[in-house]
């Protein structure tokens, strides 16, 4: 990034933070509609995290809504010098962890009552194939890889999944992840490592056996 582009980005970030702080002040002063600006500015960003944490569109939407509702209720605790996006993001991550735990309990109850698992509730993997393109072979590998990734992510613990998603896909710092996991930096680093290690054990054999699938990740 050039120096001028860098300083422009810094200025833009400062302006965004200032306008966030003004919106927060207005909401606290009773202007509920000012909250709309914050919702519209950050909901897509929070959605990406929520989807990667839950792996389900319906759950992701619920996490986004709940995160903004909770942020509104706790707005008095928000410190103006903080970044509203980061703050609501953290609330979303916390809620997503709770939601995943709740979902796990529901599923284990469901498995007890429906041992054949006829209604697995699994979504159509084709629906979310990224940039599938016209090549049927590529499409098939993409679908298979996606299913494998979904399975591998589901096998991680909630803390491992959260730590991995926040670190790898969202570039969050270890301290920030530690805050969400209510853990310390060293334990959080270890959680990220365990997550990558498990994903590696789950995906590497498939990637070795399907070189075309291996190539998919390098395409973008």
């Amino acid at each position: 990034m050039s120096q001028s582009a860098g300083s422009l980005a810094v200025r833009e970030a400062a302006a965004t933070r200032e306008s966030d702080a003004i919106a927060v002040e207005r909401v606290l002063a009773g202007d509920r509609d000012s909250y709309r600006l914050l919702v519209e500015r950050y909901s897509r960003y929070v959605h990406r995290l929520a989807y990667r944490l839950t792996g389900d569109e319906h759950d992701a939407e619920e996490v986004v809504q709940e995160a903004f509702l909770r942020a509104y209720q706790k707005l008095e605790k928000f410190e103006a010098r903080s970044n509203f996006g980061t703050w609501v993001y953290r609330i979303a991550a916390n809620y997503a962890i709770d939601r995943m735990r709740q979902r796990q309990k529901e599923e284990s109850r469901k498995e007890t009552s429906d041992p054949h698992g006829l209604d697995s509730g699994e979504q159509d993997p084709l629906a979310h194939v990224a940039d599938a393109g016209p090549n049927p072979e590529r499409l098939m590998h993409s679908v298979q890889l996606r299913k494998r990734i979904q399975q591998a992510l589901n096998e991680l613990s909630h803390a491992e999944r959260t730590a991995f998603v926040m670190r790898h896909w969202h570039g969050c710092g270890i301290e920030e992840i530690a805050g969400v996991l209510r853990s310390n930096s060293s334990a959080t680093k270890n959680t990220v490592f365990r997550a990558v290690q498990k994903l590696r054990r789950a995906l590497e054999p498939f990637l070795e056996a399907h070189p075309q699938a291996k190539a998919l990740g390098t395409e973008r």
């Binding site: 606290l28 009773g30 709309r36 706790k74 990224a130 992510l153 790898h168 680093k189 290690q197 590696r200």
Partner: protein, 267 residues
């Protein structure tokens, strides 16, 4: 040559390695570690295939439409502004003025020769008390309502943060004592009694830790409920609201009718 562990290479790949420079130099020279790093890299790159579905062009507006009706309508500005020290100072000054007005009134009364003037002074003093106490009761009611509806921030969370309510209760406690003593000295037993009960609840809240367990919250909620304090605060607040109007309607009537006192004493 000492090779780096899987953990060190993963940390390096994720940008968290302690000895980044050393690993970088080593990987450039060591084929085994380079191959291991490439395998880790291939898995992490393959994970890019797990893309997030596009939620739609109007996603932001849709989320707003869904949450807007669920946002509480009555976010009360004072909850934010009253926490500011300057405003608290101003309220303290108001409370002190009320006390001074009452004290002055009591001292001046015996020397006042004109009965109508004395009556007006008493009415003015009472109006000041009514406004100040009404405001105090409103703010106390907010705390009680807040605690009545308090719940953990997330399901399964063990601690509930009531530090905001606790700070407000501390602020209100001293004012409450002032109003209670004033009401008692003015012979307003009903108001004094409700303020006395309110004071006990405020003491409970002010002395609670900032973060409490669901069981502790339940215990506070039970104490509030068993005393019926919220109801009493609302009733007495309502009566205070109506009082200035009655006085304006009947300026020559006694400053406080016995029926009003009786009604309030029931609360």
């Amino acid at each position: 040559m000492k090779h780096f562990t899987e953990e060190e290479l993963i940390s390096y790949r994720e940008g968290d390695a302690q000895h980044e420079q050393r690993i970088s130099v080593h990987v450039a020279e060591c084929a085994a570690c380079r191959a291991e790093l490439n395998r880790i890299d291939a898995v992490l790159k393959a994970l890019n295939e797990f893309s997030v579905p596009d939620p739609g062009r109007d996603y932001e507006q849709r989320i707003w439409r869904q949450i807007a009706p669920r946002l509480p309508q009555n976010r009360v500005p004072w909850r934010h502004s009253w926490l500011r020290a300057r405003r608290l100072g101003a309220f303290g000054a108001l409370a002190a003025t009320v006390l001074a007005a009452f004290s002055l009134g009591r001292w001046v009364r015996p020397h006042s020769a004109a009965v109508p003037d004395s009556l007006n002074a008493q009415q003015v003093r009472e109006r000041v008390l009514v406004v100040a106490v009404g405001d105090h009761l409103d703010r106390s009611e907010m705390i009680l309502v807040g605690l009545e509806h308090a719940q953990p921030a997330a399901p399964g969370q063990k601690a509930i943060n009531i530090s905001a309510e606790q700070r407000r209760a501390e602020d209100l406690l001293q004012e409450n004592r002032l109003y209670r003593q004033t009401a008692a000295s003015e012979g307003d037993a009903g108001l004094a009694s409700v303020l006395d009960e309110l004071e006990r609840v405020l003491v409970d809240i002010a002395h609670s830790p900032g973060e409490i367990s669901p069981a502790q919250l339940q215990s506070i909620q039970k104490r509030i409920e068993s005393r019926g304090i919220l109801f009493k605060v609302r009733v007495i607040g309502k009566q205070l609201e109506q009082r200035p109007q009655r006085q304006e309607d009947a300026p020559k009537a006694a400053p406080q009718s016995n029926s009003v006192v009786r009604e309030r004493n029931k609360a």
